[in-house]
Symmetry: C2
Subunit: 551 residues, 2 copies
């Protein structure tokens, strides 16, 4: 490839390409879009967070110019505290994301000198060969932006997470008019959100939910409790508006919800003209039909307010017959079971429960097929790379782009770590850079490697049995009978003498190998005979650790 080429490198998504981080590179300049975390999969027990592998950026740190953050969600911002330890570059973010990131960075010592800068939409930031302009999009958090990136080879449009809501609650729709102006001289490359590329039609406006919530709050005979995402400020505004209309007071419950509401009021993202917000203590003085509670826990998170309310162990809120609970969210894949259990526990206590399977109490924050086509129509890109989605979402989005006239050869389905090299007229994946994942476990970044994870999975399946051998330092002979302990293996009351008999097996293995003075041989013989014995007796395969100690 000639030197005058752009390189597009999705760097981290745990199955969703480029979702959390994407690098754009032109000669001596690298800029990075987003730096987010993802929540670990089931196969990663004990892992707190997953963050992108930034070894490529670290290796090229002299060329990395800046991070551009599209919006304030954790999966686009949460890796910054870890990434900025390694890369000392400015971070540009829209106002709300700026506020959220500031709070987060303060919690991490050693990051006080980060250059975090609030951007204004529709103004160009020059960074090396790139000119970056943010433009407004709608998403499930205020102040979400796409990026228009001028490069020596042409304009790149990165939509960020978006939907086209013509009637958003905050009055700031996706800025299609400005985007069209930006694109009037042609777009080289469109990178566009694929999350809902398999869903036909349009994503409903947030207003639709507002109407449903207004109806629920107006008609409920008792208290209404609404659970939603703490960052879904528009939803909270609609709840407050409906409460005001129906002469109810609103109390906010759940730490992250309380913090976000406070912050959003201060920053002007929420307004309370009817003065509906009251402290939780005030609720007790009001009749149930005069109150609304807004709370966290819409994903069934075990320590969230809603789950504690459902389990009957929340200090301030107890379910009473006549309460209506609205779960104003869709379970993220994997959370279906815990959400379902939460609903059941609320019903058991006598609440009526509305959720998105039986009422229009949620719309999602991503564009459906007709909106994606609108984006393709306005930008009419020469090259197209679907991003933010599992592989099948990208395939569906690529098909839409071909339908809309993008040349098949110019549509690229990338995987994280692929380097797409683009000249003015053609593109090619020329290499791969590391784009595995790094795990955060116990608040620190580890390369929790797959051996550790597979050991953990094995321990989870059948527990562990520990055998201790005392060995004479001088002669190498085993002294006294081995000791055995176990945890997570089985209920020993079912076979009270099992470990006792295992010790006899271990002793016999020691005696059988008493000629050998090689500690490893004896230890292995003991481990194997105990393993065989336990399998015969229980059909279980616990992990066995044999530790010889020299005395």
């Amino acid at each position: 490839m000639p030197k005058k080429s752009l390189r597009i490198i999705p760097l981290g998504g745990l199955g969703e390409v480029g979702k959390n981080m994407m690098a754009l590179e032109y000669r001596n300049d690298i800029i990075v879009v987003d730096a987010g975390v993802l929540f670990p999969e089931e196969s990663m027990p004990g892992v707190d967070l997953v963050i992108p592998d930034i070894s490529y950026l670290v290796r090229n740190r002299d060329r990395v110019r800046a991070f551009f953050i599209t919006h304030g969600h954790e999966d686009h911002t949460g890796a910054l505290p870890y990434v900025l330890r390694e890369l000392d570059v400015p971070v540009y973010a829209p106002r709300l994301a700026y506020g959220l990131i500031s709070v987060k960075l303060k919690e991490h010592s050693g990051l006080r000198n980060v250059s975090l800068r609030e951007i204004e939409p529709n103004k160009t930031i020059k960074v090396g060969s790139f000119g970056v302009e943010f433009f407004r999009v709608c998403h499930s958090i205020p102040d979400a932006m796409g990026l228009a990136i001028r490069t020596p080879l042409g304009l790149i449009i990165h939509t960020g997470d978006f939907k086209i809501d013509h009637t958003p609650v905050d009055g700031m729709p996706t800025d299609l008019a400005h985007l069209a102006t930006l694109c009037k001289d042609g777009v080289m490359l469109l990178l566009s959100d694929s999350t809902y590329a398999e869903v036909p039609g349009y994503t409903a406006s947030e207003r639709v939910v507002g109407e449903a919530l207004n109806q629920v709050i107006g008609q409920a005979e008792g208290r209404v409790i609404v659970a939603t995402f703490a960052s879904l400020i528009a939803r909270i505004q609609q709840i407050m508006d409906a409460a005001g209309r129906h002469h109810r007071k609103v109390s906010v419950v759940g730490r992250s919800m309380v913090n976000n509401v406070k912050m959003a009021l201060e920053m002007g993202y929420l307004s309370d003209p009817d003065e509906v917000l009251v402290p939780t203590s005030t609720l007790r003085k009001l009749q149930p039909h005069q109150t609304v509670v807004v709370t966290t826990g819409s994903q069934g998170e075990p320590t969230s307010a809603l789950v504690r309310i459902a389990n009957g162990d929340h200090r301030d809120v107890q379910i009473r017959r006549g309460d209506t609970v609205v779960i104003s969210a869709t379970p993220i894949p994997g959370n279906e079971t815990v959400v379902s259990k939460t609903i059941d526990n609320l019903l058991r206590q006598g609440a009526e429960v509305l959720h998105d399977r039986i009422a229009t109490v949620h719309v999602h924050g991503h564009a459906s097929q007709e909106e994606l086509k609108t984006m393709l129509n306005i930008t009419r890109p020469r090259f197209f790379v679907p991003v933010h989605g599992a592989y099948h979402h990208l395939v569906a989005h690529a098909e839409l782009a071909r339908l809309m006239g993008v040349t098949s050869d110019n549509v690229f389905i990338l995987e994280d770590g692929d380097v797409l090299e683009l000249t003015e007229d053609r593109g090619e994946v020329t290499e791969r850079v590391p784009a595995g994942h790094v795990y955060v476990d116990g608040g620190q970044v580890w390369t929790v490697n797959s051996d550790v994870l597979s050991d953990r999975r094995a321990l989870a399946r059948e527990g562990v049995v520990v055998i201790t051998l005392a060995v004479d330092k001088g002669t190498g002979r085993v002294l006294s009978a081995p000791r055995i302990a176990s945890t997570g293996f089985m209920d020993l009351e079912d076979m009270p003498d099992l470990l006792e008999r295992a010790m006899q097996v271990a002793s016999a293995a020691v005696d059988g190998n008493s000629i050998s003075q090689d500690m490893d041989t004896v230890t292995n013989a003991v481990r194997e005979s105990v393993s065989r014995f336990l399998y015969t007796e229980t059909h279980l395969h616990p992990r066995i650790i044999a530790v010889p100690i020299e005395v």
Copy 2:
């Protein structure tokens, strides 16, 4: 309550009331409907199967007269091998279930003398005070039945798992006419499937899927691979029919699919008039557009044929560009992620993939709201107990019953273990019997208690660290330095000297307690100081096992 009462006792469902087992009791007679297994939840690592707790039945074994099995699915039959070890009573089952249970019982020694009896629908079986008649229903396996149970207090209708498909593939619809005749003198109690009680409208007929599959198989330019449930015989028939129509041969891949097709052909549930079925070896001699593969793996099961095909490591079937893969199933909650990954891996290899989110290639096997209303209308029960569903499904179904005119006081939402006592005119939950769960782990039945499970979850989170102490038998003094080993804890290459330093900490703890000659005190001190040290260094909390050995 007077003595002349019926007792209704749901006994096991892991969150779905009465799904796997339900006891009906009148004075000296107990009959049991179904004896199924459930697959363990995420919070039960290592557990193979969950079966109902039958201690109530065992305690009353003299009164248990028979098991009645509604259909051949595992969640209605799979516990029989365990249950029949404890209860020596006859088992009545429809023909296909009879065949499947026979095979299963043969695998378990000691169950050769079980009295397993094949029933014919619409004939009464007298068992104690009960007269039980099976009637045909439609479900996602042939030969599914509901039960009409005559009792001294009136008729009980138990629907089993059902839907009302007026045009089923096997030509045997839910027998509404016979059911109506049975019910003509009034129904005392209806127990009805609630799985889809939240879904409005009707469940589409299996034929709808047949038409979609016919279109896919007719229009595909290359090979078509269809993954579905091995017991969904009607689906397999429709695939074979479509293949015949379009002059394709069908090969069956995947052990359980091969076994089920063989059995279904022998028993006459499948027919192959066009002689489309060929061995897999024949496929190689045919052009792709002449072939269809039917396979397992629609739930993304790790060892299934489809997953191995998707991963490129199946011996007989490799994906080629031009292949069309149809996933003719819906992911069971919890399987969404693995199914999504399987789809992605198939797409990566160049297949086109159709699944239920983008094409009508699956319908489920349970009745939706309008069908549930039809059942309520035909039976017009005095009492109603919604069964087979999570609590919120039961609540939705109860609401339908009230809408249909069942008196509110006569609708009972039970939980497993509740004993509903019914007289002719009223009902009441009078007591609870044990209805927890028993786990099968390593092929044997254990009371894997919650301590064992919580130990396993703890081990999975941060692994285990083992400390060995040698103690002088005579003096109680610790001899030599403690030894430390770990598994599933962390990648020790990140902190190569960590365990070495932990041993020093352990030694210091021993020295600090050298005055004490109490082994427990020393062991605890060592455990706590190592735990503290490791937490300070790593912010991880591994499970710590300290084993003192006397020499």
